[in-house]
Amino acid sequence: MSTARAAMVCAPVRARGGVRARARGAVRRVTTRAMGPELRESVDAFVRENKVVLFMKGTKAAPRCGFSNTCVQILQNMNVPFADVDILANEDLRQGMKEYSSWPTFPQLYIGGEFFGGCDITVEAFKDGSLKEELERAMME
């Protein structure tokens, strides 16, 4: 999709440990496979540069999980441009994003650089209108 995406997916993960807490109020589970600083920085930059990012199983053209597909349908329905990242293509990214977001499952939706939620939250927010508000706010920034 973009060079930023390619860089993130290809970022090597050699370092272990040294992970700092990122999400406010999140309970951090210690895993044996910490997200390396290079990958973390790539994700930081990617979610900053792209206003809406969906970390998903498969791609928006070919989702490989019903929950990821649901989020793609919602975002497409709202006519919002978004970047898709296939976490199945990179095991380090897949494990790392669980830690980065303090969230155990996929899809993971980022809006304006912030973790917004998984599938249930996205569906709920789509229905109650708060997703639209959040997207509009991010687009105006």
Binding site: G117, I121, E124
Partner: protein
Amino acid sequence: MSSVEEIERLLTDALAPTELDVVDVSASCGSAFDVSIVSAKFTGVGRLQRHRMVHEALGDVMSRVHAMKIDAKAP
């Protein structure tokens, strides 16, 4: 694999729900569940954090199952 009973016990212990409905939606394979929970502990807590409280209560169950649909509300 996990069971409805295990999930109910973990959520009951951690969150003292006033309403709790756990359904195995994987044809009783123990790999996908729908959880609907109402707890006073969610009062004043945002949507994201309510889900995180459920994830935390479920611990390793989250990594063992394929899917966990969560509806977490305050009374």
